[in-house]
Symmetry: C2
Subunit: 277 residues, 2 copies
Amino acid sequence: MEREIQTLRSVEEMQSYAGERPLGFVPTMGCLHEGHLSLARRAREECATVVVSIFVNPLQFGPKEDFGRYPRDPKRDMALAKEAGADALFMPEVADLYPKDFETEVRVRGLEDVLEGAARPGHFAGVATVLAKLLNIVGPDRMYMGQKDAQQAFLVDRMIRDLNFPTYLVVCPTVREPDGLAMSSRNAYLNEEERVAAAAIPRVLFTARDASSTKPEILEETVREALISERLIALEYVCANDAATLGPVTSETRKILLSLAALVGKTRLIDNLVIER
Amino acid sequence: MEREIQTLRSVEEMQSYAGERPLGFVPTMGCLHEGHLSLARRAREECATVVVSIFVNPLQFGPKEDFGRYPRDPKRDMALAKEAGADALFMPEVADLYPKDFETEVRVRGLEDVLEGAARPGHFAGVATVLAKLLNIVGPDRMYMGQKDAQQAFLVDRMIRDLNFPTYLVVCPTVREPDGLAMSSRNAYLNEEERVAAAAIPRVLFTARDASSTKPEILEETVREALISERLIALEYVCANDAATLGPVTSETRKILLSLAALVGKTRLIDNLVIER
């Protein structure tokens, strides 16, 4: 089936786009991979209109992070989004979303200081702020995000509820390569040797999940020990949290979020699994 | 003309209220006076549906401020709002807007650190956060606020534009008592003697405006000197800012916001005038 895909390059164009309801929205930073496309396909199944946004958001990158060299490939993205069933692609300019006198910041306190938030100061304020904007500009009934960025999905869900956005967040499973590596635009940074080594990341997570204990210290230690022997991988953190609060695991915890960040060569990757107790 | 007025006491009820468009919204903390009613009447003239909210927002009060004793009179408010032409009154509970796990904060940096923001730390984060929520819950086409709270209106306008809320802010003139005192729910705190003395506040602002100079230092000094002799009034600050930026007055400044805060007895009042250069 051939669909036309509309490209909307300004906030104004997007705001005057009148898609049929329900409208599903997939926010991305582009360089689309199977993970993003699975979100778009899910939106296509559930919604009358599907909008995909492509915006590499400077606010969520630290000063020493990879904003400048983050991979961009709009032509390929357009073809892939169309194939996955998108009706419109929203590709705004930085100056359109952040004019010179831009001053507003949205934060989700508490949640922004753990895990990825602790490792990347300011990152989640940047995520919350751009998503508050995109929700207002696109006005979706449903928004689709991936479980790969578990804390991001958790925080955005909290922001949506706290600020009463009339949007339902759908969190979709992580899509993995055949060897288990979670799909990520940053995988493109890996050289051949690093790419092979990176498969250890999901492997150790699955090993920890399939071990006999769900004690947080044992889960974390299993990952730590298994990665020590990986010459190309430097573990930044591994943490077992209560998946329902992102706080510490307690006797009430029913699902554990086991998440980690690691450098593979110079490339920083994250991954996680949810483990039932 | 007799209109029915609907009272909506929960976020859910408000969200499922389907008013005809355009929908005009007047957010208030209740204890309605002519200032609020002028906003509602303006909304009535311009919109098909008028919603007035009454919510004394704990987030915008400091720990030593008057949240507990802030005047409340819902029955009278209902009658007044109906008379002014409101179709619906939104009166949510604190626990409905701020459930226990509430964590999100909206801030407008820069603007929150001057004038009232400097005097009342955290105040404008509370204002921005509750208004982001109310905008999402009520979903108005137009929102009406008073020039009496000039910095609040300025900051909310910036937040609306920064976060791309699909709402137009209408700022309406300050409504004054016959002796010039700006209408405020806090005027109810004044005893008879203080009430008489309070008229000096608008009087000195008008005196400064009608003097020959628009130099910021002279405007400020005129107010300062004129209030020294007022036994019951303690000036907290008076400040002449560029009305378009809330920054310092420069050679580019075309309109000056001359604003002040003062204690009249124990009651803190604010007022301002815009002065053309």
